[in-house]
Amino acid sequence: MNGRGFYTLFYKESLRFYKVALQTIVAPVITTLLYFLVFSHVLEDRITVYDDISYTSFLVPGLVMMSIIQNAFANSSSSIIQSKVSGNIVFMLLAPLSYIEVYLAFVSASIVRGLMVGTGVFIVAVSFVSLPVYNIAVLLLFALLSSAVLGTLGMIAGMWAEKFDQLAGFQNFVILPLSFLSGVFYSIHSLPDFWQNLSHFNPFFYMIDGFRYGFFGVSDINPAVSIIVTAFALMLLSMLTIFMLKRGYKLRG
């Protein structure tokens, strides 16, 4: 195990987003807060999702998780595509790093960025609305698992894409719709049966519903199911990513 090699790649991936923190941390926090302010202002008195929980409170965990998901994905995917397009990925490929070390370093940095943005959104949101914490362990578990899933998915997208346009397509036509249609702004029980059933095929739904359970102790489905689905998604995507790295898919000629 090249422990220092892994740590260096993790450090480099973290330093990369830290150097442009205005774009990678501050901007997503502000964008998410704009969603929060607009939706809570318009819908606060019109929608009741769970008894005794205001719509504004309901909204916060979903927005925090959405920001975690989107930024964890953006971190690994943008780093890989940038390195591929500019050619500097060779420096990592020439190093004695194993596929597992590369995988873990990229995903860990994605988790760090996802959690930093999520924490930022949470801290600012709780200055507007009081939020209970029902089970902090469940909450942290979903934050970690979900950011790991999206960090892994970001690696797959980054390796697959050959130009920025393809990655933007992945982001706009897969990540964004799946996160918006996962119950961030509503409970899936408010949807017609067809859409409700369809939501069960969206892995992001389980991440957000389980995360929300950590705050309120209530959820649309059993949180144990959400943990299993999220962990299973992480396992499958990790296996695929490691396989792609081992094959050098679109990385090594």
Binding site: R4, S86, N88, V90, F91, L94, A95, P96
Partner: protein, 307 residues
């Protein structure tokens, strides 16, 4: 003797294109080895396979006995590659780039002195905290060399390191690389400047159409058939009106005050030829000889198809 690089039966196919066709090549430890060939000959593909950046369709490559696929960690630790393209990470400074590269190889703060030494030797010290984006092309080239050497590899592969650099930097790079070679590093060089290869390399392989078409010591190549010919240009005081019969078959060109003669090294004697001209009443005003160099050998082998 330990082999620095052993290439056995390496082929690479991209669809219908055979970039490499069964390359067998051994580079000995401590050699300064030149890998020459025209564009598209397969030099960069071969280097990428040695570096593990490209997978061979068939065959194997070992660096100091370590297979580049099955024992990639040890193979990569022994190898420093200077890529042909000016690639860099725009997020970081020179020092950060070098420390990150050092960390990839499992080296920590204990390697910082060597990094400072490298920056000093490559005249990068005053740019240590400058972002890579702000560097000139020549400076970026020096950083690439420093990156390749940050883990003190035994084998250094330079893929056209002087392409597009000015004379001053070229001299600095060659002085630096000669120093590395003196310290015992094995150097593998690809270049389009054949004069450089002639000056620096102990042994040279010429690749063409994915095959090794020549492999010999520099002297061996220079002693080849084409290099046995010497062209003698003689400028005469009097107009040339008569050619002595004993040198008639060697004359290639005659003008009013000029004779061009082709002689074979170690066969013909320039002294005898000059004596013949003197006896024919021709006084010599000036004379120059032109020997074939590595470039002529290269042109002969790659463009005329002989080996």
């Amino acid at each position: 003797m330990t082999m620095a690089i052993e290439i056995a039966g390496v082929s690479k196919q991209y669809g219908d294109l055979h970039a490499l066709k069964g390359i067998d090549l051994v580079i000995r430890e401590g050699e300064f080895f030149g890998l020459l060939g025209p564009n598209g000959a397969g030099k960069s593909t071969l280097i990428n396979i040695i570096a593990g950046l490209t997978r061979a369709t068939m065959g194997s490559v070992k660096v100091l006995g370590h297979d580049v696929v099955n024992d990639y960690r040890n193979a990569r630790k022994c190898l420093g590659i200077v890529p042909q393209e000016l690639v860099f990470d725009a997020f970081f400074t020179v020092r950060e780039v070098l420390r990150i590269q050092s960390g990839y190889f499992g080296l920590g703060q204990e390697n910082n002195d060597w990094i400072d030494e490298l920056m000093h030797a490559l005249k990068l010290s005053d740019k240590a905290d400058t972002n890579m984006r702000a560097l000139s092309g020549g400076m970026k080239r020096r950083v690439l060399i420093a990156q390749a050497l940050v883990h003190k590899p035994a084998v250094v592969v330079l893929d056209e390191p002087t392409a597009g650099v000015d004379v001053e930097l070229r001299n600095l790079l060659w002085t630096f690389i000669r120093g590395l070679h003196r310290e015992g590093h094995t150097i593998v060089l690809t270049t389009h400047y054949l004069e450089e290869a002639e000056q620096l390399c102990d042994r040279i392989a010429i690749l063409n159409h994915g095959k090794v078409v020549a492999l010999d010591t520099k002297q061996g190549l220079l002693n080849s058939e084409i290099c046995r010919t010497i062209l003698v240009s003689i400028y005469t005081v009097q107009p040339v009106t008569i050619i002595p019969p004993e040198i008639r078959d060697k004359v290639r060109n005659v003008e009013s005050h000029y004779i061009e003669i082709e002689i074979q090294k170690n066969v013909d004697s320039i002294t005898d030829i000059l004596e013949s001209l003197r006896k024919a009443g021709i006084d010599i005003a000036d004379m120059q000889t032109t020997r074939a160099d590595l470039e002529d050998v290269f042109m002969e082998i790659t463009y005329k198809g002989t080996t």
